[in-house]
């Protein structure tokens, strides 16, 4: 958060004032309170459990509040193989998230289908939903997930606050239509 001006209190009974720009404080709030929805379908989800628990501790990045309802989350963490039967469910869950929403594609399967090079497996979830950060690996180390969260934070920091109004993004989303 860029701080433009700081007015320190003259006495200890007075409150101080910090001035900044609105979009900067909104971004600061967004990037440090990502609520992940783990869309775990395979072994990657086990790695994610390690990231949430005390050893790696994703709460250091403000993203520890795991929610299983898309209404209460703003980050879909797709951890595992997505097959064609599951694809409409993933799309619907993404649609149900309120803006702003972010997607991390975790592991080889979610990113590219992995070694499931066949009729059943979606060859990359970016064919269904827009992805912000891809994590390679099979499965990725917990550190890689933390790295992805930091990369996403950097991205949020760079983006305009009204990022989701970008037409290109809607193009990608609308390509795969539900019902």
């Amino acid at each position: 958060m860029g701080i433009d001006q700081t007015i320190l209190p003259a006495t200890k009974d007075e409150a101080g004032i910090v001035t900044t720009r609105l979009d900067e404080i909104v971004r600061w709030g967004r990037k440090n309170s990502l609520w992940p929805l783990p869309f775990g379908t395979a072994c990657c989800a086990i790695e994610f459990m390690g990231v949430v628990s005390s050893k790696f501790d994703i709460s250091r990045f403000g993203a520890e509040l795991v929610r299983f309802s898309p209404r209460q989350a703003d980050l879909v963490l797709v951890a595992g193989t997505i097959n064609y039967k599951l694809a409409p469910c993933l799309k619907r869950i993404y649609d149900q998230l309120a803006e702003p929403k972010y997607v991390i594609s975790m592991g080889a399967c979610a990113c590219s289908g992995g070694f499931y090079d066949n009729y059943a497996t979606v060859q990359g979830i970016d064919q269904i939903i827009p992805v912000d950060v891809f994590i390679p690996g099979c499965p990725p180390r917990p550190e890689a997930i933390l790295h992805a969260v930091m990369k996403l934070q950097e991205r949020i920091d760079r983006e305009p606050v009204a990022r989701r109004a970008q037409p290109r993004r809607h193009e990608v989303v609308d390509k795969f239509t539900d019902n």
């Binding site: 064609y84 039967k85 694809a87 409409p88 619907r92 009729y119 059943a120 060859q123 539900d178 019902n179």
Partner: protein, 176 residues
Amino acid sequence: MATQERARHDALVAELKQRFGARVLDVDFAFDDCTITVDKAAIRDVLVYLHNDRGFDFLMDVAGLDCMNLPSFRERFEVSYMLYASKSDTRVRIDVPVSELDMDVPTVTDLWKSANWGEREAFEMFGFNFVGHPCLKRLLTHHEFVGHPLRKDYPLMGGQWCSSTSDMTEELNEPR
């Protein structure tokens, strides 16, 4: 142990050959397993006999097989029934050659409940029509999926985009 099992298999094969004669097309022993190939006209009778009179109380799996371009096989498709008799600890596999032109196979869901999902899987993957099955619809693939993906002439990368979500409420509410 293996010789005991072989003795049980030999007795079973002898009994089947006596009862069904030429309908027992082939018998094969490999790795302590016994595979009996049976003509489709007699498959229902053979399985009823094994279930009712020989104590094969557990149908472990129903599998399909596409033998396209394999000259040693009788017909293009085969259905395999993996059977187990828990009292006598005997396993046997029953194979049925199925022609591409006539995919009808009698169901065995009334003998073993496990045949229900096994036959549904074989149906969706290969296209067998299990006559008399209570609910012959797709099990693993999406209900909008067209074709039978484990057939050799189905394209390997023939994924199909499906638009609607589906649940398994009907399966969960099935009477047990």
